[in-house]
């Protein structure tokens, strides 16, 4: 029986290699973002596999992180944005889900009152994360910025 051809490294496998190289080289996400020319939130999301990278961007990352050509290839694959991209039971991620659970109806009510019948886009969307110093303990301020999309009435 002949040897079965192995498909190339997938996008999440590439992300694991990136994390290992980043650690080995002592790089920060800010540094990587600077090289890519995008904010750190987008850049991190892209290298973890949730955004599309152009070949140029993949090669830039490849040079900075000293990646094999196969890993650079894998970085240009389509993004992986389904449930396999995240462990929803991780305590940090879970608390984000809990915020949706506890405040989901409040956000719905306020969006409906302010904008009318529609949704806040998770596609035409930007994420921002800031550290805000606070004497009682610093705070993480996460900004979800999405375009309001009204339901089409036809």
């Amino acid at each position: 029986m002949s040897v079965t051809p192995v498909p190339p490294l997938d996008r999440l496998g590439a992300a694991r290699v990136v994390l290992a190289r980043k650690k080995k080289l002592g790089l920060t996400w800010d540094k990587i973002a600077e090289a890519l020319g995008h904010p750190v939130e987008w850049s991190t999301s892209a290298l973890l596999g949730q955004q599309t990278l152009t070949r140029e961007q993949a090669e830039t990352a490849g040079s900075l992180l000293d990646l094999d050509p196969d890993v650079v290839d894998a970085l240009t694959l389509p993004p992986v944005r389904g449930a396999s991209a995240v462990d929803l039971t991780d305590p940090l991620v879970y608390r984000l889900s809990e915020m949706v659970q506890v405040y989901g109806t409040t956000i719905s009510e306020l969006v409906r009152e302010e904008f009318g019948d529609g949704i806040v886009s998770a596609i035409d969307f930007e994420l921002d994360l800031q550290r805000v110093p606070d004497p009682k303990g610093d705070r993480a301020v996460i900004t979800l910025n999405g375009k309001f999309l009204p339901y089409r009435v036809w």
Copy 2:
């Protein structure tokens, strides 16, 4: 067989009465928040049943919304913050969950790099929602502001 005593109206039932009265009286959440003396996000969350209301706050809401005493009583019950408080399959709420799905690992990575090993509190937490005008379509900017809590090393 004697008549079974009926437990009083529960917290989510009170929320449904509030929504009906608010609509009948043509009130806005801003107006209700002003009476309660808290931001509109907290006030909406409280009247929908996810925050604790003092008796004074419940009575203020009762006067404004012309509620029966039983409904005012129900507003002072403990909050309901479990999964029954929200329909996670509602399209607007689902997109919030999808943001967590797509960006959860990115937020984890950036929090770990910036703050160290810990979580962003969903308890010592504030929610803010703003409408930001944009010529290509107005945007909803949702700010999640939570205290960073480091894992205790003992």
Copy 3:
């Protein structure tokens, strides 16, 4: 113990009353749609509870279907678009889900090739259903028409 105030009829309850009245009066969805001044797909969806109805539209429906004022009120409640709105195990509905299961990756591939990285909106969306005569058995042609939304690169 005083009588607990009962919240008014909800949106899905109103839909059940509409279906009963429609049957009793021998009306068709086309006829109802004509009165509402919208295509039959949108009008049916609205009266089943998945679209927002203005008071005027609700009253038009109320006159045509001879509905009680409470039912008309309920028709103006926010739409119900979560999983409780549908039985996904109903054979007809299941086959639609199966089409998504079997052809979901094909649609993803073709949208990515033609439009780039993004999604087809279920919000800026129109539904059309036609009967197409066919000697081997008439066909139902369901058209899903959604705006392409590219992922924002920020």
Copy 4:
């Protein structure tokens, strides 16, 4: 202990190889469809593993995509149309499921009124996807064309 015989590449593995080769060679689905002599929707679905390919079709694809004989063999395996063929939590695919969730009862009502008691076939079925230019943003028009099958009354 002797070497355990390894079963050949499966159908979804073959699809991953096809995607890798297609990218490497810079081919489009249209080009591949032309070689197969079928519309692009059917051809894409077949190479992704959801339709039966004859040996001739598999070899045509093999020549065009420069596939190993083992991959060509795998393309002639029975199709894989179960839930493992798709990631239902992928944002693009999810929106298709949401359309079924929101409009499933509407489609049921209209099919029942127009055709009577039955279902729309997902087997005697054609899929079509078109890009429709629109000044406010181009649209994807997905046409689901299925034969109506009445419930047999026996």
Copy 5:
């Protein structure tokens, strides 16, 4: 607050009334089927709520079972064929599911070899159940008779 209009009895509720009346009157399914002019399998399925009944059929059943007009009305509602129609954990029903579990791949293989790529219709379908005497214990012979539907190649 005015009295909320109550939607009429639903189809499964009507089935429960039918079962109660059938028992009270000592009728058999055969007897009921004879009155409806259909085989006992279809007739039972229809009165349990899984087939469409015409008004004439509903009234025939109403006369035989001495049903209130509201129950007769409910019998003319659309059928309920989703998962709520059955308890899949009931031991008798479970064994049918187990047959599908154990013999599902065998049936797939044999249908593919005999008919080609397609499915056996659950819509253009007849059910038959016979008691076959056997000295080691009588047997139930359940015949599933469905039209083969080939996948359309377009």
Copy 6:
């Protein structure tokens, strides 16, 4: 660290090898069944891993299909009849499950009326599948033949 001993090929792995060899050799299930001396339904089920094969039967299959001794060994392992043996979301298999969903209560009612309180055995059970020509499209007639087992009253 020494080499970890690898357990031999399992029963489902053997089934995949059988399918590959059967295709390569152009054999039919009928032909294989003839060699085994059992009906085609039992024989297919056995080679797919859901029935016990004696060593003699496994060797007969091994000769016909030109299998390695390890595969023949694996065919004598205990059968695999759990949920891992089948993909319940495959469209063909799903329709069998849907028949159970739609007709499960009907079968329960008729078995109870005809036989009394008990179940139809999935163990003392035979499966038969026939193609029945029909001018409107040939039909698959699947016969489930199980012994009635009354609940023991003790």
Copy 7:
């Protein structure tokens, strides 16, 4: 709108009335079993709704427990043996499930070695529960006595 006919008390409702009456009257299951003329395990199971009761048995129970005629009627309804009959997360019941989890493969192996390929019937089955005094704490000895049913080879 006319009054909707209410279906009679169901089998599990009857069980709840039986439990209440048994407590009120200070009866034991042994006493009830004696009246029914069956072992206490079967009798308890029957009055909790998992076995068929004849009209005579239901009336015997009715006399002993001073039940309303409607409750006696309900006791003659078909048994309820699905998952709704039990709370599998109750600690006592859970431990029984855990025994199946921990010892399920052991029982399979030993049954296969001793009897061959088949199952232990849950239908042709008797349950016995004894208290066995033990100085270290009395023991409950639960005996599951089921007929071995070999898989039919056809």
Copy 8:
């Protein structure tokens, strides 16, 4: 990149090797139990991975079954008693679960009446399985012998 160290064979892997060796050598569980000096039920459970084996016991099994030292090591690992240890959908195992489903409330009632408020231990527990000849078909008698543990009142 250096070679990743591979963790040793796990407990369930050891069980699969044991089953293969037992078959190859034609041993019975009784024979193995005799060597271990424990009843066959405990011994089988231990070699399948659900009980703790001492090194002496593991070596005794290793001699009898001619196991590699790595497999003997693996037999001394902690037991695996979670859901991964068993296939609950296997027909034989399922019937045990069904017994719990159908008779769970009966056992609860009788334990409560006989012993008071508590549970039957699945830890201080013995399992016994006997074949009982019966002219109508031999029976498997499974005895679950657990210590009653009363809820502590503190």
Copy 9:
């Protein structure tokens, strides 16, 4: 149709009445525990429905909380300890589950090393909850005190 007999208030219904009366009367759990003569943890658990109350205890609670006789009766029903007793998605309860998720394997390892193969009883168990003042924020110290139960080797 005669009036269906209504089963008496159940245990969880009684708990809701207790909570309402406790609030109305301004009582504390400590006060209630003092009357019952048990620690506050056990007493709260008992009145919420998770422990057995004797008639004397139920009447003591009835006097203190001014309960109707039907509620006192309901307090003597068997405890409800299944999943319906708690909302596992409530944020406070969830964090307890998360502690089990994060520290479950650690507790297993340490119990195995210290005690051997067995479990910590949830039945022979006491719960204690203390507030411990701390300048950085007071702490809740929850003590789970359970008897170690070794697996029986037979």
Copy 10:
């Protein structure tokens, strides 16, 4: 096709190697904890993968357990605290979950009464496990010590 780069050993893989080395060397958790300079509960949790280890701590563990450099590297990876870290169906772990199920509402009530509206932190948290000798059987006393966090009112 070039060789796909393999990502390094992950954190749970490192834990499995640690367990194997610890057993081989006959070390105890106490001994390992002493070397790390932290309590045994934290140290065990860290080596099982649920706490962050510094490089120094990883190297200390590496020396003590004679680990390869790759395993030491893996010990410095981020902790794994999601559901994959534990088998919740393992009997010992399950009993901890059952304690949450049975006593969750009691803890909620008592925390609310004593502290007000908030949660007990699973992050600012310490675990302690002690063996307490008892003539009736030694007890495991597990102390959960978490900071109370009040819901922020803003």
